[in-house]
């Protein structure tokens, strides 16, 4: 059983140029703000800016180095722990740089600068203020990087989802087999052939149209049942499908082409390889604010599920569900009691993300 990816703190690669440049920019702007807040005398402002910027650059670059070293650890932790660890690292760097500054100020090396108030006079206050400011600014910067990262990932996922949706469309096998069925029916049963052509047209319209939003469970069930009718012509008594979804509100918004690919997989892997066919069960339930849709099919006669070839369709549905219900939808699949089962779960509360 597999489930959706857990959420992770999304930080850029602090070992590489762009992120370091961003940090330098943040640091310099912070230095300007601090200098402006402290001084109103123009000449003193430049001195203040210079030494603050020097101090902050060390902390900024030190933090980048620390986050670069911690990168792998941070990516393996859930968001709260990762954020705490990253802020902790920044605070530690701030404390170190502050200590070094204090040590430099009290050392004999800096004798010529004595009396110019170049170095802080209250060591403890200096340290504590710096740590507080480091924690606040560090947290803000991390938040900024995380939001940017999430946004980029979403854009990438959406693009991917579109490509995968294109690829996951109805198998060519199905198209040719249906054409063959229709060719046969044109002789023996023209009325049924006509119906099959209409069904096929509906199905392709649903699959070829770039639909933005507004697909409901009702639409999805209809498409899947159209698909079922065409396959029944071909497979006859071997295909039996039991629909039990009446308890789920049919107006529920869902991503398009959610059920049909699952039914297609169930037929391809569970019914076609069996001489006597079998029963596919599609069940919808409401459970504590979540919709649960399951599709079950018997295993092929040789006992091998053969489902390894359909990861793409499942990955596609999983991605689109996740885009529509970020973080709250799941898709599980596996073998239980001689059947192959796919289970989708998503909230009834409506989509918070992007419908595809």
């Amino acid at each position: 059983m597999s489930s959706l990816d857990e959420k992770r703190l999304r930080l850029p690669d602090f070992c590489a140029g762009p992120a370091v440049v961003a940090i330098i920019l943040i640091v310099v702007l912070t230095a300007v703000v601090i200098a402006l807040a402290r001084q109103d005398d123009v000449t003193a402002l430049w001195t203040e800016l210079a030494r603050t910027a020097l101090f902050l650059l060390w902390t900024g670059l030190g933090s980048a180095a620390a986050l670069c070293l911690l990168r792998r650890r941070l990516q393996s932790l859930p968001i709260p722990q990762a954020a705490a660890m990253a802020i902790g690292a920044i605070v530690a760097v701030v404390a170190c740089v502050s200590q070094v500054t204090l040590w430099l100020g009290s050392s004999a090396l800096m004798e010529p600068l004595a009396g110019q108030l170049f170095f802080p006079t209250h060591p403890l206050r200096f340290l504590l203020t710096n740590i507080a400011m480091g924690a606040i600014i560090g947290a803000l910067a991390l938040r900024y990087f995380h939001v940017i990262g999430e946004w980029q990932r979403n854009v990438e996922l959406q693009a991917q989802a579109r490509v995968h949706a294109l690829q996951a469309r109805i198998r060519p096998h199905f198209l040719y087999n249906s054409m063959n069925t229709i060719a046969s029916l044109t002789r023996s049963n023209p009325a049924q052939a006509e119906e099959a052509v209409q069904d096929l047209a509906d199905l392709f319209r649903a699959s070829l149209t770039e639909r933005s939003a507004g697909t409901t469970l009702r639409d999805e069930v209809e498409i899947a049942q159209t698909y079922e009718r065409i396959e029944r012509l071909r497979l006859g008594e071997r295909l039996r499908v039991d629909w039990d979804i009446d308890t789920v509100p049919s107006g529920l918004p869902v991503p398009s082409l959610l059920l049909q690919p699952l039914l297609e997989n169930a037929i391809y892997h569970g019914i076609e390889p069996r001489r006597d066919g079998g029963l596919i069960r599609i069940v919808g339930r409401l459970n504590r604010g979540m919709v649960e849709l399951t599709v079950r099919n018997p295993l092929p006669e040789d006992g091998l599920s053969g489902h390894s070839g359909n990861r793409m369709a499942m990955a596609n549905i999983r991605e689109r569900l996740d885009l529509m219900y970020p973080g709250s939808a799941t898709l599980e699949s596996g073998e239980t009691e001689g059947e192959y089962l796919v289970r989708l779960r998503f909230p009834t509360g409506g989509a918070t993300g992007i419908a595809t």
Binding site: R171, P172, H173, L175, Y176, N177, M179, N180, T181, I182, A183, S184, L185, R187, S188, L233, R234, L235, G236, E272, P273, R274, R275, P300, E301, D302
Partner: protein
């Protein structure tokens, strides 16, 4: 008159080919069925000249059925029919084997029937090998007199190498087949295990692995109680496969 056997698991697909054959003239449809193993039996009984054989069928598929038919003393010519099997089609092209794509055109059917030729088992082996993740056969085919005996894989206890042939020991007795043990080991990697140089055992029929008095191992077959010696070299792999 060309005697034709028609094999497809879909009734409507058969109906259409039947209509095309009737319109064709010069053909005598001697039989039809919807499964590979039945096709092999009918090919043996009805002795058709040509078999129209669907590639994808439940149970034994068309490629495997053709391999078994090739063992018959007078094997029929085979024309594969498929809706869309990218890899099978590529393999047919590579071996210059004629095939028909569904929906079949009457003119293509006519020319295929004219050219239809017998397929050697080596060509069929190459085609099977060319498909991705080649499926192991569902049956082993043994030449018995002038017919082919199909032995379901699940009924096979073990295979042993015997000079020139391979002996298959199964629920129905013992038969000789042409496949070398090495090839069988490759094909049935997931369900069989080599216990010594000349014996390949079906894991489903193993009941026990026992240590003998001289410190070696024997495997015991569930249904017959027969014991087979495990060679030292294979003992490690056997234990790994059985997770001992």
């Amino acid at each position: 008159m060309t005697r034709v056997l028609l094999v497809d698991d879909e009734a409507l697909a058969r109906e259409r080919l039947r209509a095309l054959l009737e319109a064709q003239g010069g053909c005598d449809l001697v039989g039809e069925c919807g499964a590979g193993d039945e096709a092999v039996r009918l090919a043996r009984e009805l002795q058709p000249d040509v078999v129209l054989l669907d590639v994808r069928m439940p149970g034994m598929g068309g490629l495997e059925a053709a391999r078994h038919m090739a063992l018959l003393p007078e094997p029929p010519a085979v024309i594969f029919v498929t809706a869309y099997d990218q890899y099978a089609v590529e393999a047919f092209d590579a071996e210059a084997i004629d095939y028909l794509l569904k929906p079949v055109r009457a003119t293509r059917l006519a020319s295929a029937l004219e050219r239809a030729a017998r397929l050697s088992s080596s060509r069929l082996d190459r085609i099977t090998a060319a498909t991705p993740r080649p499926q192991p056969r569902t049956h082993l085919g043994a030449r018995v007199g002038d017919t082919v005996r199909l032995i379901p894989i699940q009924d096979v206890y073990y295979c042993s190498a015997d000079q020139k042939y391979t002996a298959v020991h199964h629920r129905g007795g013992t038969d000789l087949i042409d496949d070398p043990l090495r090839a069988l080991e490759d094909e049935f990697r997931t369900s069989f295990v080599r216990v010594h140089r000349s014996a390949l055992v079906n894991l489903h029929h193993l009941s026990a692995v026992e240590r003998t008095d001289d410190g070696q191992f024997d495997v015991v077959l569930r249904e017959t109680g027969e014991r087979l010696r495990v060679s030292r070299r294979m003992a490690g792999e056997l234990r790994e496969r059985l997770r001992l």
